[in-house]
Symmetry: C2
Subunit: 145 residues, 2 copies
């Protein structure tokens, strides 16, 4: 059962444009929260992924965030310069294990707080059930991809 029809389709009302605008609004607010640390949204996501143990290599982070490997190399370079992350030789000699430095763990706490603050702000007026339903919708769209 198709949702949209060519004849009645109005782009600005559709999920495509709305998702794009929503993402931009989230990033804008998140980066403004993180400005004191000079972190981009993408950088903060990587720190987050490492801190929560969801990945410990560049490739792992790339898959999780569907981020470009080339961009990831340079992103990690910057995180390393900032003293948040370091590359440690791991079992696989092609890659390096990514390890959070103490400063990285401290910053992680603030990234976490910033994300929670921004998302709660944009979900103002949502009931917990609605928020979970929104998450579920988005996951279903991703599963269709």
């Amino acid at each position: 059962m198709p949702i949209y029809d060519v004849k009645t389709f109005r782009s600005r009302e559709a999920v495509g444009a709305l998702v794009g605008l929503t993402r931009k609004a989230i990033i804008e607010r998140l980066e403004s929260e993180l400005a004191p640390h000079g972190l981009s949204a993408a950088q903060s996501l990587v720190v987050l992924v490492l801190a929560q143990g969801m990945a410990d290599t560049a490739a792992g982070a790339c898959k999780l965030l569907s981020h470009d490997p080339g961009a990831m190399t340079r992103l990690l370079d910057r995180l390393q310069e900032k003293g948040l992350v370091r590359r440690v030789p791991g079992p696989d000699r092609r890659s390096a294990r990514l390890e959070l430095m103490p400063k990285g763990r401290r910053v992680y706490a603030e990234i976490n707080a910033a994300q929670v603050k921004v998302l709660n702000g944009m979900l103002r007026g949502f009931s917990p059930a609605e928020a979970r339903q929104l998450e579920s919708f988005l996951k279903r769209m991703l599963a269709n991809a």
Copy 2:
């Protein structure tokens, strides 16, 4: 009533990351559909906005798509080179009225079809009511921004 809590927050499950991934998936599929025309997703959105009469100046399109004015100038240059759009002197001498060329109108039909196809594909399994609810959720988030 806050949705997320600092202690239990898991980034990858949250709306922020999901919105980002969903957007990337939509763009990927849309650009692959539009590849024959060599159009980017951003370019196609501008053509769409012009064709549906939602804007007829660069500033209008910028506001609607929350796009950077500098980037918009160059984007329009490219659309003009492709023969899809032209700048016509308008009443306001600062700006130019944007007009779709015949080729632009033809391409618009295909952009429209591509968007409908991609979105319907990613909304597979959604009931019309669910899709409208998803739209509504996203609009509410944007209204909070």
